[in-house]
Amino acid sequence: MGHSAASVAELDFALVGHQENWRAAADVLAVLRGPERTPLPDDEIRDILPWIPPRAVCHVEIASTTGTKARGCYIDSFIAPDRLEDAYMRDNIARVREAAAYAIKDGAKIVSLGGFSSILIEGNFNQLPERHGTVFTTGNTLTVSFIVQGIRKMCALQDVDLRRSSLLIVGATGDLGSGCARCLAPGVRRILLHARNPERLRKLAAELAADGAEVEIATDLRHFSAAAGVVICAASLASSSLLLGRIAPHAIICDAGYPKNLSPGAALPGARVFFGGLGQVTAGLHFTPDFHGILNRHPFPDVVHGCLLEGMALALERRFEPFSQGRGFITPERVQEIEALAARHGIYLAPLYNADGPVEEVLDCHAAAMM
């Protein structure tokens, strides 16, 4: 019968996620449908997907450079890509709850809430179902680590001195944005914080200023006094109004959103964009059925979002604890701790890339051409 329906094994971890766009959703369904069947037409997929209840899509096994392994599953909440907006918030929370309940039922010891799922639960941990021996992490601390590492690496590659740069963080009061701000504020000339909630902005600005940072805040990007040379986009939703009008020519931009904050057609002449928050597993990552390149759609092997990798890294370490919870509690110390933990198991910052492909190779070519 294709798959054995009867066996259920204990899980070290579960990863809860959703697909970023319809193409990705179609590819997931195509794998499940099997190569011998005609792929579902796009309009059928749009009809069907919103009705699929959250459930496991595949088993995942990750190996550590220490020789240990952890077993888990990927649970898709099947939030439709075009419903990742406020109007569907109630339905989406219900779906994340259902996915969480699924992970608990399957006996996962730790659950990473990826992408939109993590954002929904950041401030609402009391909305999770009753959990017996299952802990939840947003995974945001490791994501912040990879964003910060990515910014430093890109600046080094581009010969940009971060200490002389103005850093703009879009979505600054979110968990990712505030974590990045705390990590990077001491090492930049000025930090520009953008978000929708002025009260939260003021609070974060006061905290950073107390530590000696030069801070500006604005709810409208056009109101900053200076153009930013380095930008982190960490907003919870893509926004057509995110025009980034106050960025310097040749600014370095890290798009760390999931879904991506910047639309592929965003007019950013001269900007050097890369996708942030991604890590790479170096000791082995296996999906059953084989979802390689489907669930992790990146131009490099075994690249996964930091939020999901955090749960896997903690599972490899046998530290089943809610490492990242709530919003606004990510500190540089916690970032260093999870970074070191991940590195112990061979999980590092992924090679940088953007919508056009790998970034580092291009930069290497440019550098070689100039020599």
């Binding site: 019968m1 294709g2 798959h3 054995s4 329906a5 009867a6 066996s7 259920v8 369904l29 499940l32 449908r33 099997g34 069947r37 579902l40 037409p41 059928e44 009809d47 069907i48 919103p50 009705w51 699929i52 209840p53 459930r55 496991a56 899509v57 595949c58 088993h59 599953c73 699924y102």
Partner: protein, 251 residues
């Protein structure tokens, strides 16, 4: 094709609402399903050994006939006769699948087909229709959806116990029946009837007209498959496996 039972009083109305003929086809499909369920329960009673089970099956059969009569009555209220055709191609295949379980005297297989598969579709579809149909028509669909859901609860206990005794054997049986029955149900609820007329709708296929009454074939199919997956979850089947089963159904 002759209806298996004539539950309709001939009616003559001079004017119909613009949507009456759409509801007529919706009612016809529902009524055919109810009459087939009544036939299935009657057949089931013939293979039950326990007198209590026999009585239970016959009671269910009577209940399903009552639902069919209620749908016929709703048709009359809006000025249409509600036809039925349990020999229509899809319904006939479903009936034949059930009768194979009967011929094998497989009580559990009968419950799986009727309660897990057919009733999942009935409950989900009726509930959706109940939300949008006007007046008493909507109330009747919603009330029958609730009653059918109780049927499922009753059967679930038996099926859960059966699965507990030998999960692999149970799941293999369910998968075999899924391929046979759910394939037919998926074809019935495909966006359009690509294999020709369903032999229940009074004229052309009703599916393209469903948006006129705030329904769609896609919505009915989606809700039905959702209900089916949730029912299989309650039985304890792994969700990743049942998801694969459902994604492999025809569209």
């Amino acid at each position: 094709m002759q209806p298996v039972t004539d539950l309709n009083c001939p009616t003559q109305y001079t004017s119909l609402s613009p949507t009456a003929l759409i509801w007529q086809d919706v009612l016809a499909q529902a009524m055919t399903g109810e009459l087939m369920a009544a036939m299935n329960y009657t057949s089931l009673s013939e293979i039950c050994d326990d007198p209590a089970e026999v009585a239970d099956a016959l009671e269910h059969a009577a209940g399903e006939r009552g639902h069919a009569a209620a749908f016929a009555a709703e048709g009359r209220k809006i000025g249409v006769d509600v036809p039925n055709n349990v020999n229509a191609k899809h319904w006939k295949r479903l009936r034949e699948a059930f009768l194979r379980c009967i011929s094998e005297r497989d009580f559990i297989a009968c419950l799986i087909v009727q309660e897990i598969m057919l009733e999942s579709f009935a409950v989900a579809s009726y509930a959706r229709v109940g939300k949008v149909a006007p007046g008493s028509l909507g109330k009747v669909f919603a009330a029958i959806a609730a009653e059918e859901e109780e049927h499922i609860d009753h059967a679930m206990e038996i099926l859960r116990n059966e699965r507990a005794s030998d999960p692999q054997r149970f799941d293999d049986k369910l998968y075999r029946l899924h391929l046979e029955v759910m394939t037919t149900l998926a074809e019935m609820l495909a966006r359009d009837c690509r294999t020709g007329h369903c032999e229940v709708c009074h004229g052309s296929c009703v599916k393209p007209a469903l948006p006129d009454v705030s329904l769609s074939a896609a919505e009915l199919r989606g809700a039905s498959l959702h209900q089916y997956l949730k029912t299989l979850d309650k039985l304890g089947l792994p969700g990743e496996v049942t998801l694969t089963w459902v994604t492999q159904l025809p569209v």
